[in-house]
């Protein structure tokens, strides 16, 4: 199931749909043999970090900078092909970590950066977005399988954390709604109390920005 930990702020539709599909396939294949969630080894948990565009990346990077880096490693950052800024921000951050830990040889190998197709650009029409969503989803599935091929064979059970963007005050995004309704995420965070009241299974733990 992809990396051991996945975290996403919205605008990550293809990745989330693929996670859903692969997780479903995994459960079908291994039903009855669910490994413990605490299989996380001392070496750290492979983490897939899905970056959105613009403000969403800032939200996610606030989480990443607060995470214990030795626990959540290696980190795979995913962002859209047309998004030049997000991976750059993540790269700048990862390089700043390397500089702090000069004696450690592993360096940037702790972090990898992957680009994916977007399901829909801002302003793109809904009709053409059907085709681009299919393309983006297949590409995302391919990437998740490639990052962790053993997973599909069933080595580790992954945990999914979803953080709804701070821009969503009254309604969930499409990705958020899908993960919430289908109970895909292990923990589902929202950033406004009124949204938590509307979606009681969500968790409100303050704002990221």
């Amino acid at each position: 199931m992809g990396p051991d930990v996945s975290m996403a702020v919205c605008c990550a539709f293809p990745v989330l749909v693929s996670l859903l599909l692969i997780r479903f396939a995994y459960v079908m294949y291994h039903s009855g043999h669910m490994p413990s969630k605490l299989s996380a080894s001392a070496a750290g948990m492979r983490s897939l970090i899905v970056l959105g565009s613009g403000g969403h990346t800032a939200e996610m990077m606030n989480v990443v900078t607060t995470l214990q880096k030795d626990r959540f490693t290696p980190r795979y950052y995913v962002a859209a092909l047309t998004d030049n800024m997000s991976l750059q921000k993540a790269q700048v951050y990862e390089q700043s970590l390397v500089r702090v830990e000069v004696d450690k040889e592993e360096g940037v190998e702790n972090a990898q950066f992957v680009q994916i197709y977007r399901s829909r650009e801002v302003g793109q029409s809904y009709i053409t977005s059907i085709a681009t969503t299919l393309l983006a989803t297949s590409h995302a599935i391919w990437i998740i399988i490639r990052i962790r091929p053993q997973v599909v064979l069933g080595l580790g059970w992954s945990s999914i954390f979803y953080i709804e963007s701070i821009a969503r005050v009254k309604k969930l995004s499409l990705s958020g709604l899908l993960l919430y309704k289908l109970r895909i995420a292990d923990q589902f965070f929202v950033q406004w109390p009124q949204l938590q009241q509307k979606y009681p299974r969500a968790c409100y733990a303050g704002r990221l920005m």
């Binding site: 930990v5 975290m7 969630k37 605490l38 996380a40 948990m45 565009s53 613009g54 403000g55 969403h56 800032a58 939200e59 606030n62 989480v63 900078t65 607060t66 995470l67 214990q68 626990r71 801002v122 302003g123 809904y126 945990s159 954390f161 953080i163 963007s165 701070i166 821009a167 969503r168 005050v169 009254k170 309604k171 995004s173 292990d186 923990q187 965070f189 950033q191 406004w192 968790c203 733990a205 303050g206 704002r207 990221l208 920005m209």
Partner: protein, 172 residues
């Protein structure tokens, strides 16, 4: 030194195309309203838009300048006395973090217009003013910057500690 104090208004549309906002700030009504409020300079970051505002320089009038993109948007925000921004969360929080008065103009042409949610919520909490391209002039005339509440930035620690708890890691 010697020149009277500059009070700059910075307009930003981020990476979007938002001609309606650029046109609105380039209109005589909005420029007059800004002059009346004591602003001296108007700098417009116009992004991918095609409407090009007119540059103005000279005495006794609002100085107008524009550019498309810049890697140092934060510097423009830091130097501004007022920021007029599109409703993108990046621009909004960047401005609030710098403690600058902010008018958010919602792009009503976007398809899935959830963007207004954030701006309206923060306007209700009096962290910023919210306007449309049509009401921008009025909003500037009627706004009282003194009524705005400073924004206390959020914190990722509670979310991260819940993620850690989920895995049974000790909290530290």
């Amino acid at each position: 030194m010697g020149d009277r104090e500059r009070r700059t208004v910075f307009v930003t549309v981020g990476t979007t195309c938002f001609d309606a906002l650029v046109k609105a700030v380039d209109s005589p009504q909005v420029k007059e309203a800004l002059l009346e409020k004591g602003y001296t300079d108007l700098i417009i970051q116009m992004g991918r838009g095609t409407y090009v505002p007119s540059k103005v320089s000279g005495d006794g009038t609002l100085q107008v300048d524009y550019f498309t993109f810049s890697p140092s948007i934060a510097d423009y925000i830091r130097d501004a006395s007022l920021v007029i921004s599109h409703a993108g969360s990046g621009s909004i929080f960047e401005t609030l973090r710098h403690g600058k008065p902010l008018i958010v103009v919602v792009n009503e042409d976007l398809m899935d217009n959830h963007q207004s949610e954030l701006a309206e919520e923060l306007a209700t909490r009096k962290h910023l003013f919210c306007a449309s391209p049509q009401t921008l002039g009025e909003t500037i005339q009627e706004m009282d910057i003194e009524t705005l509440n400073p924004y206390v930035p959020g914190d990722a620690k509670p979310v991260v500690s819940l993620i850690n708890k989920f895995f049974g890691f000790p909290d530290d």
